[in-house]
Amino acid sequence: MNHYDLTSDEAEVFFEEANELLESLDRDLVGLEKSGDDATLHRIFRAIHTLKGAAGSVGHDSMALLAHAAESLLEKVRNHESSVSTQMANVLFQVVENLRIFLDDVLADRPAQVDVAALIEDVSALMGMAQNVASDVASDSPPDQMLSHLPTVDDSGFVVIEDGLKSGLNLLVVYAEADMTGIAPLARLLQMYMHLEQVAQIIVSSPTGDALEQGQGAGNLAAVVMTDMVRSELEAELSNIFEIAAFQVADLSSAPQLLRPQEEKSGEVLPVAGETTETLLDDEQIVERPMEAAPQRETSPALRTVRTSVERLDNLMNLAGELVTNRNRLFNIYEELSHLLDEEQRTSLNDTITHMSSVTDQIHDEIFKARMQPIEFIFNKFPRFVRQICQEMGKDVALVVTGQETEVDRSVIEQIGDPILHLVRNGIDHGIETVAERLAAGKAAQGQLSLNARSEEGNIVVSIADDGRGVDAEKVKNKAVALGLITQEESMQLSYHEAIDLIFAPGLSTATEISGISGRGVGMDVVRNNVQRLSGSVVVHSVPGQGTSFELRLPLTLAIIPTLLVEVGSQVFALPLPNVTEIFKLDPATIQYVRGRETAYIRGGVLPLVRLAHLFEEDMAALDDFTERSKKGAEKGAGGDEAGAYVVSLSYRDVQMGVIVSRPLGKQDVVIKALGYPINKVQGLTGATLLGDGRIGLIIDISALISMATEANAIQSHRLAKA
């Protein structure tokens, strides 16, 4: 990182925080345009302000300037000097968009990519002052009368100022004159001083607090303070003090050099932090009170949370796994030792281990929960996105978001955004009609797009539904026939549902033009492929004339999954628990051979069986061997060596299949670890996991397993047919 002042360990938290702010801005700006309540305005203001501070701290000047301009504009709105217009909302959206680009600059560590001078002028124009930023900064300069009383700050004071500015605080100058006709003018100034102490860090004041306390001073007070308040807030804060003849607050955040002693004010380079920190510590007069003691004004939930990296959580998860291993070992040791202990020692040891065991489980649970996040993180960007698409396409769509509190693991959050985005885009683009069409069809002029999330059986289900025209099955069929995906005859046979499912076929839905919003529109086939890759599914429902809905289903986590551990020979496999429907002892007598394939006859149904050990042998020789043995087994009528084996019945979508294993080991939540190059692409495996006893368990990808079984079966029956 060269262009920006950001170390790599800070970077992650920085970007995450900035992204969250940008997302909350997107949502709040839409809200502001609609209702414009003060709470929303305040959040927007805070977010912009924090981003300004962040930009300043990493040294992205354009970003800081842009945020500053937006902040000033918002301050006008807040002071009711200006109201929110569509034009203003558009400009603010542009500001957010550019802030995002700037953030990418920092991420990519490259110089600023866009010039925002014009945009800043737009912002300024909205403020009713067609000035450029330079004069905007100048407008923040203190009035002359204040300048003459401006206290000067020495080097050590500047260190504090620089640090404060970096952490997003504002540098404000307060100048007050007491009403000398009042009862106790100097006491009022002292009162103001003390008030300032509570809400800000006083860098320097003239006269000093001590002097005021002793009744010294000429009836005025000038103080340089650092605070998280903006100018108007501090002004409001101080305006309650009586008998102050006049007071002013100026923001010098962008012009701290004005506080330099007169002779060196021009072109002075600020001292580098670190050079002067030692003197700072001795100089009690300047640092009047430590920052930590400053009362916290913000009571946002952010203060009750701590940020940490996902990597750290992963490590914690692994460590908790090791705790579980050792817990199990401890139980074993206890068993072995117990005969050597007397009753009291045994009880004491047993209690301790039991307690440790339950704590271990709790730690495990807590870490798992810590990795969960509400899907809100993704949903937040949609109000702005929908608004933008609607503007571009001239449509009027209301977005209804529900279930945003549904929690999913981090790993899913990272992957689910793009598919949802494409489906939302698709809904507005192809689903919802234009206003004229809607009115003609007797519908409300405004279309509705609903985005809902819920958790269901270890999955997160996201539905994206529009009340548009629905999918035209004939059109889809014709296109599929034209593309040669199906024949004319086949198309006649298709039900409505089967026909519209064709939109997921490659090439069918790629008509979307390249747009400025989400880049190239990708086809539905890509959406379905990407979702399936994550062991998820996407299905479409549609009613002509009434609307279309997509249902996206993904596991709650892609990092930790509940599994059933099974042993096959000496090898351990983990079967995803949601797919496991039943475990039963294999009764060799119930095995039937249907077209050479083993099946179990249970409760009046037929369950195809596969042997994990065989299925994974990919070469034909092994398959031949399998066939041979199957035949032999068929001749014998029962596989005697299988006594004691178990069948785990699995279901995936509509397919049921039984897997023959040596024995089940039990349920366990496992952390999925990548197999790593060069075996990360091995078919049929999702990854591996470390077991309590240090062994490695391979995690089975059920969908791949089933398709492998089907293939193997096809090849096998083909061979049998030939034989």
Partner: protein, 180 residues
Amino acid sequence: MPVALHPTGSGASRRELIPGRAAQMKEAEPQEHLVIFTLGNECYGVDIGDVWEINTMQEITRVPRAPHFIEGVINLRGEIVPVMDLRKRLGLPARPADQKSRIMVTKTAHNRLGLIVDSVREVLKLPASLIKPTAELGTLIDESFVWGVAHKDEQLIVLIDLQGLFDADEHEALDTMEAV
């Protein structure tokens, strides 16, 4: 016990070694820092920057459907590391592991990868002038991963470019994927 070559955890890559090499140029002849291991009667050398640590044999979990030269995965102190039989990968006849067999853990662009070798002999600094291009001598293995040969104490050392070997595997894997 594993022999940690980079106890600090920062395995020097080939690239990182270059400034060091440049510095050596001024004083003396450049040196290649190599880990020397054997496969059968042949002696091989790999850049020490590519080697993370050297372990004795341990239990290897087989991974079905993996390429034939992958023996499986090991649990390396909580990390799952694939293990490749270097004999099989280089097209040499397979042979069961014995007391002297070692798992040489290397760094690929993506993750760690263990290589099973017959034995690890030593860590050696070799003057660059002793290294000859491959054309001059034949060896049993695929020469596209051999970048040089050196004579030392009557012993021929074949220098292998591990990263090149890994890259080749990766391209092959990609090709198969595209074919599917």
